[in-house]
């Protein structure tokens, strides 16, 4: 147990240590200051704009920003869908996989473009290397860049005054991709390979085992996708078993790196935010609130797993009794930590099977997704989600003392509150409606693998995961049916764009406002009291 605590403690320390410099670096990137990588990337960036005919000097209002985002996402979905349908005739397909079924292809396309990466398919049995690279890996980058772009636009809503403009969507996603996601992915991918993650284009390898049986080893360009799957908080595994597969996550060290990769950008963004709005404390307050909730969740998950499963213990099994669905090399500490991170951060990668977790631990995982994943949250999505809650808090507190609420010098008024309320309620509504339909229809309950109340949890988890754009699963639910593929697809769309659009609208109306200097009656958002209120 002492080793377990040491591992969790050192993980959190390393995370904070790395998040600060990355946060500063991203602030430099987003405000267009000079960075070390400029000599190489500037040229590439300019080439991009030339080819895609982007006018860098052009600023966009919130409507145009949102429209560019929507069109880009829709085209991405269409491309992912078509590549899956056509993979049979495309190259890089040594296993000769045929076209993916339409409902599954739709689900997967939505899933990757919305940064959910719900996996209704088994990667090594369904997707060609072409699909994995050109469709899935690409969207792993772009959906993350899109999330960060929205967080940036919202930040500009606070920093700009009396303008309708929020920046340029194309510039935001290009810079995020080239300066942040791509270099980090390349380095991480190579370190992962050094530990044993595979990276090749070979056909599956047929071998004869020691006992003379045949075993087929699935191959593929795993490391390059693994890296961005985590850094972009996407979570869609190359293999069905995701980050539990030894070829995706071979050692405790890769596990540590993968956990860091999931959480590093969401942890660094509040620092970037503080820097960009010119008040570092604002960022630290947000980070501290996230951190506290996270440690609380982790404690409960680990304690519950450590306490074990009394039913299994009674059979005559020695501790740890909760090894069903866990890997020996990770044990309880690295499995509990990974599970807490992945549900808090909206990643959805798993290194253990959440369906088999003890009930209390499973409850926390579910809860973390339901609160909209603002405890760090997905790349960008976590920050703008948390800011939505901050606005809500400021508004309520403002009403209590009878003043017009303000945050960072911007008055928060009826229009912003309407949008904020929408952003908070829409994912919840999607979870509720989706689960309700699935639970009362034959077609919904047919897919359950665990009877009774646990079956309802599987359904609830699926829709929470979809609407919160998480993508992890209580995988006992056989969700690869037309019913679930389509309903979950819709839940993912609603959960993603039903939040992004109101957030951009808020950003637009905030940017248009004057910035008022804080007066004596201003509610200070960096005091311990306000920190407590946000929680």
């Amino acid at each position: 147990m002492s080793f377990d605590l040491l591992q969790m403690g050192s993980y959190l320390a390393v995370l904070l240590l790395l998040a600060v410099p990355l946060g500063y670096y991203m602030a430099r990137v987003f405000s267009g200051e000079r960075t070390l990588l400029d000599p190489i990337l500037k040229r590439l960036e300019r080439a991009f704009y030339r080819v895609a005919r982007v006018d860098v000097t052009k600023e966009m209002g919130w409507r145009e920003y949102a429209l560019s985002l929507l069109v880009f996402s829709f085209l991405g979905m269409l491309t992912v869908y078509l590549i899956q349908r056509l993979q049979g005739i495309l190259p890089f397909n040594p296993e000769h996989f045929g076209a993916v079924r339409p409902d599954l292809a739709f689900n997967t396309a939505v899933s990757f473009v919305t940064n959910t990466n719900w996996q209704a398919y088994a990667g090594e049995r369904t997707m060609s290397y072409f699909t994995q690279m050109a469709a899935l890996t690409v969207q792993n980058f772009l959906s993350a860049a899109t999330g960060i772009a929205v967080a940036l636009a919202l930040t500009r809503g606070f920093t700009r005054r009396e303008t309708g403009f929020l920046g340029n969507f194309w510039v935001d996603i290009t810079r995020t991709t080239l300066w942040v996601l791509l270099p980090l992915s390349l380095i991480l991918a190579l370190v992962l390979v050094s530990q044993g993650v595979i990276q090749n284009l070979s056909p599956y390898l047929k071998i004869t085992t020691l006992e003379g049986k045949e075993q087929i080893l699935a191959m593929g360009p795993v490391a390059s996708q693994e890296a961005i799957k985590l850094l972009g908080t996407n979570g869609g595994g190359f293999f069905n078993a995701n980050s539990a597969h030894p070829y995706e996550n071979p050692t405790p060290f890769t596990n540590l790196l993968e956990m860091l990769a999931i959480q590093i950008i969401p942890a660094a963004l509040p620092i970037t935010f503080g820097r960009l709005v010119g008040d570092r404390r604002q960022g630290l307050v947000i980070l501290a609130a996230m951190f506290l909730l996270f440690v609380l969740g982790l404690t409960i998950v680990y304690a519950s797993e450590y306490y074990g499963n009394p039913l299994i213990k009674a059979l005559g099994v020695s501790s740890p009794t909760t090894m069903e669905g866990k890997e020996v090399r990770f044990g309880l500490a690295q499995s509990s930590l990974f599970a807490t991170i992945t549900t808090a951060v909206a990643c959805g990668a798993v290194n253990s099977m959440h369906d088999s977790f003890t009930p209390f631990a499973g409850l926390i995982l579910l809860l973390q997704m339901m609160v909209g994943e603002v405890v760090f949250g997905g790349a960008g999505a976590g920050l703008f989600g948390m800011l939505v809650f901050v606005l809500l808090t400021v508004f309520i507190v403002g009403l209590m003392v009878g003043r017009t609420p303000e945050y960072l010098g911007k008055k928060i008024e009826a229009r912003e509150m309407k949008m904020v309320t929408l952003a908070v309620l829409i994912p919840g509504a999607a979870i509720l409606l989706g689960s309700a339909v699935a639970a009362v229809t034959k077609i919904g309950t047919f897919s359950l693998s665990n009877p009774g109340p646990h079956g309802l949890s599987e359904i609830l988890y699926a829709f929470s995961s979809g609407a919160a754009n998480n993508g992890s699963a209580f995988a006992g639910l056989n969700s690869n049916t037309p019913f679930y593929n389509i309903t979950l697809g819709i839940a993912m769309l609603v959960g993603r764009f039903g939040v992004i659009l109101p957030v951009l609208a808020v950003a637009g109306s905030l940017a248009a406002k004057k910035t008022i200097p804080p007066g004596p009656g201003t509610f200070q958002t960096t005091t311990p009291f306000s920190f407590f209120c946000s929680l």
């Binding site: 030894p246 299994i312 090399r329």
Partner: protein, 185 residues
């Protein structure tokens, strides 16, 4: 227009140049790992040190139960996904316990390490805990006609400690241990 051109250039960079360049660099720097950490014996591939194999012969150490395909199907990874109170899970564990106890001559009041009777997450877990290996020593010594002490020593040599002294758990790689068993003479 800009949308589609942007998607096209991004796809070229992120979908082809990035993964193919990573593949090239990986082969240059870490060719053994990039191609699957394969183990060769007499010039023939007998497996990967990262992917578990199914062992049922009493002369070999057995790994964990597996829910991947028919068991250790390395093209169909996955766990059982049975909930913690599911009757099916509890019954299966009870059955496996009976088998493990019988094979290894354990009495019913001796506790069995959990990893020997539960499915891993990937279904391809290459490891078992040191306790799970040690429990099998007498059976293997009997089946191979080798003194227990010698087998026990072999297990001790194959216990891999925590990485860097504190990460993960101590493990035994079943395939490597069984290869060492075969090499005993």
């Amino acid at each position: 227009m800009t949308s589609s051109l942007m998607l096209l250039t991004m796809t070229l960079l992120l979908g082809f140049i990035y993964p193919l360049a990573t593949t090239g660099l990986a082969y240059l720097l870490f060719p053994r790992q990039a191609s699957g950490s394969l183990i060769y014996r007499d010039g023939r591939v007998v497996g990967s040190e990262l992917i578990g194999q199914k062992f049922t012969d009493p002369r070999y150490f057995h790994g964990r139960p597996s829910a991947a395909g028919e068991g250790y199907d390395a093209s169909a990874s996955g766990g059982s996904n049975l909930g913690p109170t599911n009757k099916k899970l509890l019954e299966t564990i009870a059955e496996r316990l009976a088998v493990v106890r019988e094979e290894n001559g354990l009495s019913t009041n001796e506790a069995v390490p959990a990893d020997l009777v539960t499915c891993s997450a990937s279904g391809l877990d290459p490891h078992i805990s040191p306790e799970a290996a040690l429990i099998q020593v007498p059976r293997i010594a009997r089946a191979r006609g080798v003194p227990e002490e010698k087998i026990r020593q072999l297990v001790e040599q194959h216990i891999e400690g925590r990485q860097f002294g504190f990460l993960g758990e101590p493990v035994v790689n079943v395939l490597k241990l069984n290869l060492a068993l075969d090499a005993l003479r």
